[in-house]
Structure formats: structure tokens, C-alpha cells
């Protein structure tokens, strides 16, 4: 049984069909990438899986149990976490408190604030924010806030983490650094990752499998190299040959 | 009972109430739609307009219909001053966070308290009224005093004029563009600052006029503004934010509901109807007035 099973999921906003009968499965321990132009429906997919929104039709199953209609906090406690494409830190709280909240309320469910803070510090160290723990989250740079998003997601103790364009806006050295940190954390905790990325190099290096979304439909699925050569993908990105 | 319900008298009352709500709500629609901030002091402008008309009559003997233009002008100037002095700064800051929106609301509430109590101090809390155009006119089985008829006609004329302006004149179109989509309006060359200023002028001015018209038939008191603010909000939410036509339609719906509701029950239920509508409308639209922008949960 796959860890995550997305079955014929569609999402409609009024006149706009954001997703059209998308189906795929993710095995436990896998690292799957999603690519596609803006508006392809990638972030919408994350919102549906995390429970921030409801699919118009179709089913989403986590370890065989349907999570459609469940509230986001329930889904989080079942082991799903996500980052937001446009970062949403708790700006008025400290960096440590941001991550402690995740540790306190997420799937890990630490018993006390003290324990949660301890776990939070550990994660901050792993992601490279250890020295900024007491700073207000709003004072971090964009790169720092993106790391904070990741730290929060990890601190929930979730086994399945969805990363939404965490590399966007980072310089190449920053990308390398973050990539290394993510790989290490993933290895240590045995995480399953679903990653949206525009930086193709990251997708190729990090992922076992890549999904390609185009205008709400899944047009290709396979190994990174295979997808890169897929005629449907080439057509979507470069246009048909005359 | 059905005969009373179908009476022309009641219909006229419903129309009159609807017209005054429409005028007040129009002002709120303009100011609120551009500001995206809740001006809970809007009803107090109505109150000030009413007092202005009262003082014109008692101190200078100027009949209300004659002082309307002056009151509208003063209201407009007040609006422009408020925009330049306070709201423009608030607008710039409010884009930062929704919490600032709640704080801005508190700010306007504080201003409302100040204005209301200042009026109470200056004018005393005793309701004031004056007599004007009190001859009774008969239209079939409907008996009206001249003042009610005049108030309704002027309100209707003003509404028509403003709607025409917004639909036909270039500046009016710019306003509607701004209300609909601020960034897009700026991109196509609309002078956002000037149009916002004009919205405030028109919004405050029409509220002041509504108050002056009201003073012809009702007494004015320092704390009369709040129910108008509430009614205006109900109307704006019902009709759809920024929809001028929707606001007018909603105003007449509310006016009818109130008038006929009171006729069916009793005058003491008027407030229950108004606040009941207010609560109902807000609760059934939990995404507020910007359904397009936020996600419905």
C-alpha cells in the first residue's frame, strides 16, 4: 500500500478547473517531485492533501484511510506537513517559538512546552537556524524564513512532508546548502517527500520520480531523465513541432 | 390586517426608509470599497449632517432644502480632510496585516466615540427637531406630510444622479474601476490618489445629505448614528461590496423588511430586526465581503 494515494482528484474554483482528475501514488520513503508552469495546479494539490481545501471530486488516502473532508490539524496529526509557497511565519513570535508550536501540536505531540522547545532547538540546528532561535521570526531574511518553513514542517514529526518551492529566490550556493541539509534530514528521519520545484537541477538530484502537471492535468510521470525526454512534456513546455 | 399591509401608507414608509438607507449605504460603499477598512463612524456623519441642517434652521432660518448643497459641500470637505489627514496613512499601513485591520476598526470606533460624545457635550443629549413643510398632501388613500415627500424625492433624485455619474462620466468609471481592482486601475493610468479622494468626498457628502434629509422628518440626537452604520453595513453586504446597484436594491429590501416587519409585530421589534439582519448577514458570509479574495472554509 502506498503512503499517499491520490485518486482522480479534481478541483474547481467557480469557472476555473484547477485540477482535472489527477491520480498518482507515493510509496513510503520515496522522494517525488512535481513540476509544471505557474497555474498548473501544483500548490492547489498541496492544499488538498493538507486539508486546507476540499477536492471537488476524487479521493485522497493516507495509509489507506481517506482524509478528504478532514480538518488540516487532524491531517497534520496523522503525519502530513507542508510548507507554504509564500512563507507564513508567525512573525511576532520568536524563531524558536515558531518551531516549538509545530513540535507541540503536530504529529509528534510533545507533552510539554519544554520538551517541544527542546525538539525544536534540535531541528533548528539541523536546518542551520540554531543561532537565530531567539530572534523574532519576522526579522529573518527570505532564505531564513524559507528554512523556518521547513523547520516547522519537520518539527511536527510528520513522516510525509510537502515542500513548496523552497528553493525559489535562493542563490546557487544557498540552494546547494539547503539541498544538502534536506537530504541529510530526510535520511536521518526516513521521511517521504513531495517536492514542488522550478529549479530543475534540484528535482533531478533529489527525486526518485517526477510528476509533471500542465493546466491541471498530470501529463507525465516517471524517472527524472525519462520525464525530461517525454514528448508530452516537451510539447507543453516548448510547443508542438510544426 | 392584509389591507393595512397593502396600504400605500406603508409602501411609502418602506420607500422612504429604503431611500435614506440607500443614500447612507452608497457613501459607505464608496468609502469602504476603496479603503478596504471598516469605517464604523460612517453613521456619525449622518448625525452631523442632521445637526447641521437643524442649526441652519434654528440659528439662521435657512430651510433644510436650501442648506442641502452647503451641507453636502461641508461633508465632502470633511471627507477629503479625513482622507488626507488620516485614512491615506492608514491605507498604506493596513496592507501589512489583517491584525492592523482590526486595529483600524478600533481606531474608527474610538473616533466615533469622540465625535458622538463631543456632540453630546456641545449640543446636549436631548433630541432636537424642527418643523418644516408640514402641510398634509393626499394621494388617493395615502396621506403624507410635505416633508416626507420632499425627503424621498430629493433622496431619489440624488441617488439617480450619483448612479448616472458613476455609470456615464469618466471619473465615475474610474471610481468603479478602483473599487473593482485597485492595482489594475493604477496600471491603466487611473490616478488612484485623486479617485480615492473623490470617493471620500462623495461618500461623506452623501452621508451628510442623508442626515440633513432625515432631520426634516426625525429628531436628531448625538447617538443616532450607530443604527445607520449597522444598516449601511447590512445593505452593503447584502448588495455586494462595491456594487452600487446592489447597494440600492439591498437598501430597499432592508427598508421593506423593517417597515413591514414592524407593522406585523411592533415598533419595539425594529432594533431586533435590524441587528438580527446584521448578525445573520455577517454569520452567513464568514469570508466577509471579499468572497473572491479569501478561501471559504
Amino acid at each position: 500500500m502506498n503512503l499517499l494515494e491520490v485518486e482522480s482528484v479534481s478541483k474547481r474554483y467557480g469557472g476555473v478547473q484547477a485540477l482535472h482528475e489527477v491520480s498518482f501514488g507515493i510509496a513510503a520513503g520515496a522522494v517525488v517531485g512535481i513540476m509544471g508552469a505557474n497555474g498548473a495546479g501544483k500548490t492547489t494539490l498541496f492544499s488538498l492533501v493538507a486539508g486546507n481545501e476540499r477536492p471537488s471530486s476524487g479521493d485522497i488516502r493516507l495509509r489507506g484511510r481517506s482524509i478528504v473532508g478532514r480538518r488540516p490539524d487532524e491531517i497534520c496529526r496523522r503525519g502530513v506537513a507542508r510548507t507554504f509557497q509564500i512563507v507564513r511565519p508567525f512573525a511576532g513570535l520568536s524563531v524558536l517559538e515558531n518551531v516549538t508550536i509545530a513540535a507541540l501540536f503536530g504529529a509528534g505531540q510533545h507533552a510539554s512546552h519544554g520538551r517541544a522547545a527542546g525538539a525544536a532547538r534540535h531541528v533548528l540546528g539541523e536546518i542551520g537556524l540554531g543561532d537565530r532561535a531567539d530572534a523574532p521570526a519576522g526579522s529573518l531574511t527570505l532564505s531564513g524564513q524559507k528554512r523556518l518553513e521547513i523547520a516547522r514542517a519537520i518539527a511536527t514529526g510528520a513522516g510525509f512532508i510537502m515542500l513548496d518551492e523552497v528553493m525559489a529566490g535562493l542563490t546557487p550556493p544557498e540552494v546547494e546548502e539547503l539541498l544538502a541539509a534536506i537530504r541529510e534530514i530526510r535520511r536521518e528521519r526516513g521521511l517521504t517527500l513531495l517536492v514542488i520545484e522550478h529549479v530543475v537541477r534540484v528535482l533531478m538530484q533529489l527525486c526518485d520520480e517526477v510528476l509533471v502537471l500542465h493546466l491541471g492535468r498530470l501529463i507525465a510521470q516517471g524517472s527524472p531523465a525519462g520525464v525530461a525526454a517525454d514528448p508530452a512534456v516537451l510539447r507543453a513546455y516548448f510547443g508542438a513541432e510544426s | 390586517m392584509t389591507e393595512t399591509l397593502a396600504s400605500g401608507q406603508l409602501l411609502f414608509a418602506a420607500l422612504a426608509t429604503g431611500a435614506s438607507y440607500a443614500l447612507v449605504a452608497l457613501g459607505l460603499n464608496l468609502v469602504y470599497a476603496t479603503m478596504r477598512l471598516l469605517n464604523v463612524a460612517h453613521g456619525d456623519i449622518v448625525m452631523l449632517g442632521g445637526y447641521a441642517a437643524y442649526w441652519c434652521v434654528s440659528l439662521a432660518g435657512i430651510p433644510p432644502l436650501a442648506s442641502l448643497a452647503g451641507i453636502a459641500l461641508v461633508g465632502a470637505l470633511l471627507g477629503m480632510g479625513a482622507y488626507r489627514g488620516l485614512f491615506r496613512r492608514m491605507l498604506a499601513r493596513s496592507r501589512a496585516a489583517a491584525r492592523l485591520e482590526s486595529n483600524s476598526l478600533l481606531l474608527f470606533f474610538g473616533l466615533s466615540i469622540i465625535v458622538q460624545n463631543a456632540a453630546a457635550l456641545a449640543f446636549t443629549a436631548t433630541p432636537r427637531g424642527y418643523q418644516t413643510l408640514t402641510e398634509v398632501l393626499h394621494f388617493g388613500d395615502v396621506a403624507l406630510t410635505g416633508n416626507r415627500l420632499a425627503a424621498l424625492l430629493v433622496a431619489a433624485a440624488l441617488l439617480a444622479a450619483i448612479v448616472a455619474f458613476l455609470k456615464l462620466h469618466v471619473f465615475g468609471l474610474a471610481m468603479r474601476g478602483l473599487i473593482d481592482h485597485r492595482e489594475a486601475a493604477a496600471v491603466v493610468g487611473v490616478d488612484v490618489d485623486r479617485v480615492q479622494l473623490a470617493c471620500f468626498a462623495l461618500g461623506f457628502g452623501s452621508a451628510a445629505v442623508a442626515g440633513a434629509l432625515l432631520s426634516m422628518t426625525e429628531q436628531v440626537s448625538p447617538f443616532m448614528g450607530f443604527p445607520f452604520t449597522v444598516a449601511a453595513f447590512v445593505v452593503v453586504i447584502l448588495g455586494g461590496l462595491g456594487s452600487i446597484g446592489g447597494g440600492i436594491a439591498g437598501a430597499f429590501v432592508l427598508g421593506a423588511l423593517e417597515t413591514y416587519g414592524v407593522a406585523l409585530t411592533s415598533a419595539s421589534y425594529r432594533s431586533i430586526l435590524l441587528y438580527g439582519m446584521f448578525v445573520l448577514v455577517l454569520v452567513t458570509r464568514p469570508h466577509g465581503l471579499f468572497g473572491r479574495r479569501s478561501i471559504v472554509r
Binding site: A107 | L106, I113, S268, Y269, V283, G288
Partner: protein, 302 residues
């Protein structure tokens, strides 16, 4: 921890305040009752509004309902039952109203709470009118000193509850909700449940406070009791005192009680105007309140 220390200091001060009736006359006991009342109300309000960011402009509804319960049950129930019933009634109303009302966000929640309070006010007026009452009178109420001790107890209770709310999971969750409700929910905070809990908890003590004030006034008139200025004052005291601090409501209540003693007798409108000006000034220039300003020098350790 700072909040533990603050709590001990506050409770010690309140224990000292219990000596007031022995030390001073009726006039001062009266002021003491006012001060204790505002502390109890504002501390309770802050559990919901300061922590979660859902600013309630209609909190007087709980106060009014509590007063109504005590007055209406005066001949049927002993005070020892009526006061807890008042608190319970307020909490129950919060529980029922909370479901629909807490779905509304930001400034819309603020005006909705005001609308609900006004609606309840007019419904109570109608119900009373239906029974032929414009107002109610109660007789043989407890003496001033007893009322003082009751109110002081409520102030201490409210402070304890406010402290408890802040240091437990509930407090941490509410603060996250205040910062970004959707992000908080995505991280596992049970947002709907916490908001409702805060709402109910913040309603109970004001219900009891309303009941005690009914005893003091011996007179219940809905229009007077469900006064929106009570809600407004709670907010002003919290903001002026400092909403993120356990001592904030105490500081704010003290400052404004002093102000009202100076101004109220001569010109209640002037007092309200000054209150309005203070609120505007603090929201614009000192949003962290007096306590927040005082703390600016020292780093925060929570």
C-alpha cells in the same frame, strides 16, 4: 519565569487589598469595587482577544446576561447558587453563539460581536416588556463590604485564569492563531476547538461580575446594563495597559478608574471622549501599551 512572578505579585496585592474595608470608608470601598470589576472583566476579555486576536467588542453581553440571571432568579435562588448560575449561563451562551460567530475573521468578528451584544440587548428588552417590566428592582442585597470581597475574589480568579490560559498549550496555540490562523491549523493546532474554548472561558467570569454588579445596583434595566461602553472600556483598558502582559489589565484598569473618578461626576461625556482619544493614541503610537513600553528595555523571556 516572569509570568509566575507577575502572578504572585498580583495575587499578593489583591490579598492586601482585602484589608481595604477595614482601613477606609465606603467611598473607597466603592472605588475598590469598580477597580476590581474592571480587572476581572478585562483579564477575562484578554484570554480571548489579546491571545487569539479575535477582538470582541460585544463582551458586555456576558456581563448583562449574568446580571439578568441573578436579578430574575433573586426570589427563587440563594446567592450562592445564583452567581455560579450567572457564570454558567454566560459560558453556555458563549458556547452556543461561538459556533457560528467564531467562523468570522478579523474586523468582521469585531463588529459581529458588537451586533450580537446589541441584538441580545434588544431581545431582553422585548422579553422584559412582554412581562410588563421596564426594569427590575431587587431588595435585601448584601452589604457593600460583602460585594467588595466577592468582586475582589472574581478579580483574583480572572487573573488566575488569564495566567493559566497563557502558560498552557491553549495559550501557545492561541498566539499562533493570532499570528496566522491557517498556518497554525496546518501545523496541527486545533483552531476551532481552541477558539471556542477561549471564548467560553472568557465569558464565565464576566457573567458572575454582572451578577455581583446587579447586587450593587439593586436595579436592572437592560438598556443600561447592556451598555456597549462597557465592552469598549474593556478593550481600552487592555490596550492602554498592555495586552500581551498579565499585568496589563490591572494597570489599564487602575489608570482608567482613576481617570473616571476625576471626570465622571462632572462630565461623563468628557470621560468617554478622553477614553476615545487615549484609545486612538495608544493604537496609533503605543500599541504595546504601558507594560509593553516598560518592558522595551529588557529582553523578553517567555
Amino acid at each position: 519565569m516572569r509570568s509566575h512572578r507577575d502572578l504572585c505579585v498580583l495575587l499578593a496585592v489583591m490579598a492586601l487589598a482585602a484589608l481595604l474595608p477595614a482601613a477606609a470608608g465606603e467611598y473607597w470601598v466603592g472605588i475598590g469595587i469598580s477597580l476590581a470589576m474592571w480587572i476581572a472583566l478585562t483579564q477575562s476579555w484578554s484570554v480571548l482577544s489579546a491571545l487569539s486576536g479575535y477582538v470582541s467588542l460585544g463582551h458586555v453581553v456576558f456581563y448583562g446576561l449574568g446580571a439578568y440571571v441573578v436579578v430574575a432568579s433573586w426570589n427563587a435562588l440563594p446567592l450562592a447558587a445564583a452567581l455560579p448560575l450567572a457564570a454558567l449561563a454566560a459560558a453556555a451562551f458563549a458556547f452556543l453563539a461561538g459556533w457560528p460567530v467564531l467562523r468570522v475573521r478579523g474586523p468582521y468578528f469585531v463588529i459581529l460581536s458588537l451586533g450580537v451584544a446589541e441584538l441580545v440587548k434588544f431581545v431582553v428588552i422585548a422579553v422584559e416588556a412582554g412581562q410588563g417590566n421596564a426594569s427590575r428592582l431587587i431588595l435585601d442585597t448584601p452589604d457593600l463590604n460583602t460585594i467588595y470581597y466577592l468582586m475582589l475574589g472574581l478579580a483574583a480568579l480572572a487573573t488566575l485564569i488569564a495566567w493559566g490560559a497563557r502558560i498552557t498549550r491553549l495559550g501557545h496555540g492561541l498566539r499562533a492563531i493570532r499570528e496566522d490562523e491557517e498556518a497554525a491549523e496546518t501545523l496541527g493546532v486545533p483552531v476551532a476547538r481552541y477558539k471556542l474554548t477561549a471564548f467560553v472561558v472568557s465569558a464565565a467570569v464576566p457573567g458572575a461580575v454582572g451578577g455581583v454588579m446587579a447586587l450593587r445596583a439593586t436595579y436592572f434595566e437592560p438598556l443600561q446594563v447592556f451598555d456597549p461602553m462597557v465592552s469598549f472600556s474593556m478593550i481600552a483598558m487592555s490596550i492602554i495597559g498592555g495586552s500581551d502582559d498579565l499585568r496589563g489589565p490591572v494597570v489599564g484598569a487602575a489608570a482608567l478608574t482613576l481617570l473616571s473618578e476625576l471626570l465622571w461626576a462632572n462630565a461623563p461625556e468628557l470621560y468617554m471622549m478622553v477614553l476615545g482619544v487615549l484609545l486612538v493614541a495608544f493604537v496609533l503610537f503605543v500599541p504595546e501599551g504601558i507594560c509593553g513600553r516598560l518592558l522595551a528595555a529588557r529582553p523578553a523571556t517567555r
